[in-house]
Symmetry: C2
Amino acid sequence: MENADTTRSFVKDVKRVVVKVGTAVVTRADGRLALGRLGALCEQIHELNSQGFEVILVTSGAVGVGKQRLRYRRLINSSFADLQKPQDELDGKACAAVGQNGLLALYDSLFSQLDTTSAQLLVTDNDFRDPQFRKQLSETVDYLLSLKVIPVFNENDSISSRRAPYEDSSGIFWDNDSLAALLALELKADLLVLLSDVDGLFTGPPSDPQSQLIHTYVKERHEGLITFGDKSRVGRGGMTAKVKAAVYAAYAGIPVVITSGFAVDNIVRVLHGERIGTLFHRDSNSWTSTGETSARDMAVAARECSRRLQAVSSQERSKILLDVADALEANAELIISENEVDVSATKEAGYENSLVPRLALNLGKISNLANSIRVLAKMEEPIGRILKKTELADRLILEKTSSPLGVLFIIFESRPDALVQIASLAIRSGNGLLLKGGKEAKRSNSILHKIITSAIPENVGERLIGLVTSRDEIPELLKLDDVIDLVIPRGSNKLVSQIKSSTKIPVLGHADGVCHVYVDKSADMDMAKRIVSDAKTDYPAACNAMETLLIHKDLLQTELVNELVLELETKGVSLYGGTRASELLNIPKTHSLHHEYSSLACTVEIVDDVHDAIQHIHQHGSGHTDCVVAEDHEVAEVFLRQVDSAAVFHNASTRFSDGFRFGLGAEVGISTSRIHARGPVGVEGLLTTRWIARGHGQIVDGDKGVIYTHKDIPSQE
Amino acid sequence: MENADTTRSFVKDVKRVVVKVGTAVVTRADGRLALGRLGALCEQIHELNSQGFEVILVTSGAVGVGKQRLRYRRLINSSFADLQKPQDELDGKACAAVGQNGLLALYDSLFSQLDTTSAQLLVTDNDFRDPQFRKQLSETVDYLLSLKVIPVFNENDSISSRRAPYEDSSGIFWDNDSLAALLALELKADLLVLLSDVDGLFTGPPSDPQSQLIHTYVKERHEGLITFGDKSRVGRGGMTAKVKAAVYAAYAGIPVVITSGFAVDNIVRVLHGERIGTLFHRDSNSWTSTGETSARDMAVAARECSRRLQAVSSQERSKILLDVADALEANAELIISENEVDVSATKEAGYENSLVPRLALNLGKISNLANSIRVLAKMEEPIGRILKKTELADRLILEKTSSPLGVLFIIFESRPDALVQIASLAIRSGNGLLLKGGKEAKRSNSILHKIITSAIPENVGERLIGLVTSRDEIPELLKLDDVIDLVIPRGSNKLVSQIKSSTKIPVLGHADGVCHVYVDKSADMDMAKRIVSDAKTDYPAACNAMETLLIHKDLLQTELVNELVLELETKGVSLYGGTRASELLNIPKTHSLHHEYSSLACTVEIVDDVHDAIQHIHQHGSGHTDCVVAEDHEVAEVFLRQVDSAAVFHNASTRFSDGFRFGLGAEVGISTSRIHARGPVGVEGLLTTRWIARGHGQIVDGDKGVIYTHKDIPSQE
């Protein structure tokens, strides 16, 4: 399947690019030149030029510049009497003649600040009728580009006598947009960039929040459907002219991107293959995914299917899971052969060895997965459970029931079995699902997704579970806070932080796990050693591993501190001290008390007592999991009650903080957020509630309609 | 109390402003000029100039420009042999001489594009020793400014012989930052703006996410505490030099703002009084609130107090509530007299009459409030309730317990009694609270806040509940997603939407309530009339009022439809139809099927059956409250099960969707979000959970440490 990556992959081969700058880009609202944008444009062209691209500039704006200058000249040359008379419009051709001068002088002066030379080329439609001219033009431009000079084109408006569009078999030319398209063809460019005052082509007026940016224009789908909005403030162009020119060039074989000239780096981003603006490409109609379908449409389809999934009976939902389990086993060989392609590609790419075991699937793993799905199929129905039942008034009964969240978007790395687990959790909890896996498991994820969705019956719809195939689509999906209800990133802290900072959709996860173990003076010495050692060394990279060891100051008088330090050092743990510990224990000082080592290293600090320990944890912790080791039960209860973290333990290793160990079954993730789900999250975290009331015609009528009883009714569960 | 408004109010009187542009602003990473930023700078100066401001520019960057040019000249004049030798550094003074030329020519050419003229003024420290020079300089600048010419200053580096800073009683001058400060004094400017490559002065290195932008520098608080980070990439300046110059100018009476020169409109924004960058002001130490204290500090203090509130016993928390109730009654007269000031101000301001009853407090209202607080005081302790108890392994017991969310930020309009209700809910649920009320209730809110916080004992701290006094602080607070856990806007849909779109903190609320009543063909005719009428007319402005009436198509054959229409029209309800209803019932067509009238008006549409009704609700509803009127129980159950809204009713008015009517006690709000709390939200919605485990030294040890039992233990509640 072609995916959104493909839609911009052609930029790899781009060397020669025509950039058209519209009047709305070079001109400010007051009609003067937009110097900031012009400067940024020249900086970008200079940068691309020095990177080896051949950039040809087509610029508008001369008429506007000339109008400014001529108005001023007329003012100076007017008598007072002249100024009393109505001022007629300035002649457009004269404005162009005056402005061309000023605009090109400015480009020259800007480029020369960057040690770059520009050249002026003024053309009219008539010129193109002469084959000799076209040959000469090509040769001149080739020569300029070979010297790294920037050719700057403009229609020679001041002497043009065109009244109707110029058109022949080789091209069409009626304004600077079409001139740019024509030049892209004539000069054999690899890409045409049209800079506009909006981000690209939208499904409706760009100012309407309902309008969506079209990433890839597909003529068959978009032609006629799109409102182009108003013509731009100034200039002849507007979006209609741009789309016409873009379609023309694209179908002649030159990809076109319409993007905003207001951003300071859009040309560079387009040439780096970023999916900004609207792409016009000859082959776009043959691309099965152009980004559009795979973002909003995918999410909307998943929600619709999830509603149908909720509507079917509990037995039917169980049946789907059993069918999925069977299908996985029946297709085990196919899965393994696709998985092997991923595994060998990963080995060839020379990735770290630890990746391969996480990536590789075998018959045993597949059968385990199938069996765990069968367990899930037999689990008590989680949807529609009555959590609370109240009689509001005589014969008016209110129930609070569990219900699916809606649509989940899960981003996971490496392990293809995660796809199977998450998909079955989603089916069990009645949610729609969008999945984005790591590219190293591309083939495995693709076949697993296909097998699972094939097992979903038609009355629910296989689009219940969508597979997102391109990284580029993630930012798009993260914007869809109206159709996606929860994002669950499973991967590095960096991934989680990035996602949290780039979406308004609630994110289930934790950016960091700075877990503490506090050893009280009342601690059992052997127990303290055992717990501290397990908490740090059982799996140092886990988020529930201990990162900071807090020790009661009185223990400095005993042997325990030395024994603890020795225990950790023997297991290869490097120790870094807080201010007190580094001095008293003679260990290097830590750079930060809020640090997740994720390796055989930890921070040690001395505290005065349990209150000081709690203070330390509140100030430097991450609210994940913290533990007190103490025989004094009063101390333990103070700690358990006051430490404000998702999980707080007494005399047990922090490593128990985990969905499986907590008995939640499959784990979706661990949340350090305080809203919705906190700590290890299982199926429950994928559910929300609905209030359902059954009455017999009761009305409120200013609260005189019924007599409120508000009686709790025990639910029969 | 002075508030954040005051800190930037001085800009009203600013006419003459000195703008200093640092080397890091005018220069790109590759050492060439940053043309985009320079262009934007000139555009801003032109804009301010035409708005009547007198702008004086002090620019760096000449040395960098000269270095470029001289390198090129040297290359051209070198023999191949010369180039083989190591290249010595270019002479700084020569670079300045060459660069000054190019830089000022560029300014001139940019300004002239905007019909603005600039003038060059090169000065050295020696010049300032001559009083005659200083007088002449003032006169020249005054004259230039009177002609709207932009004076552009630079240190005359190429001929300067200074080795140590120049300093006398009138000023100090050792670089362009201090030159700018000196000129601001000499030329009697009203404001100095120092443009940097960072957003202002931070509490730590700007690249460190922990660092906070300081909005207002207070010497007593910030001096010595601040890490300035690295010196800027290029140029002599860096932040230390800027702060020194800024402190110097500020204490001489000229306010200074350090802000980023990378944004295209920061100078304009500073002059419009926006709170961007760091302000240095002579009086800042006397300002009680400089924005810093009232945002982050308030939130942090509320969190600390909330932790102490959680630590006290349940009885103590009840006692606080009883004390608050007593204090309110004891101070009733004071409250009423302050409230009367608000009420008469509101009447004078000619607000709509409906506002006054909501605003006004009297003895009866106060006594009701006190009594409802006493009810809350007696309510079952909501914190620390065991929601689930599991034996994980022998003698390792896990509990899921309720715990406070942390810090709530509530924005409410008009009604001062809301402050009392919310504050007591927060105390009951152990949460810290920040309150922002409407300005029409300013005096009332202030006295109520004072009375309530006075009743909070010292071991908890009165900063548990903070009162936000300025609108300006709202955006600041909405950014603090690390210290505020939940935002609850209580007010118009517009307020809720605005807040939702401007924060990453979870928001409890609903932007709109498009509630439906579906009347099935099996409906009891009288019941349908009663419910529809109550749902629309009991309180048309409420969010749970019916906005759309859906009618089964078969009822068109009966009298019911006409009777329903007549019933509504008799009560003064205007009807607008969907496509089918407008034609069949001959009523005007509605503009949108997703419309909240909030008045005596509603949409009517005909649907085929219950499935069609559900489809309509999913497509056009807002997920708030929807109702089915039907005697056919199968139809009712399909509706109750499939309609995916926060509340779904059978044969009862949508108006029942309310915290009080649901028996939740006080209502915090109604949530249409699917995460955390859904539908009417009471105390429960202000709580989250914590996992607490009590063990006897158990460790994980690769899951061989214990034998998992995962037994549910019934909690003794």
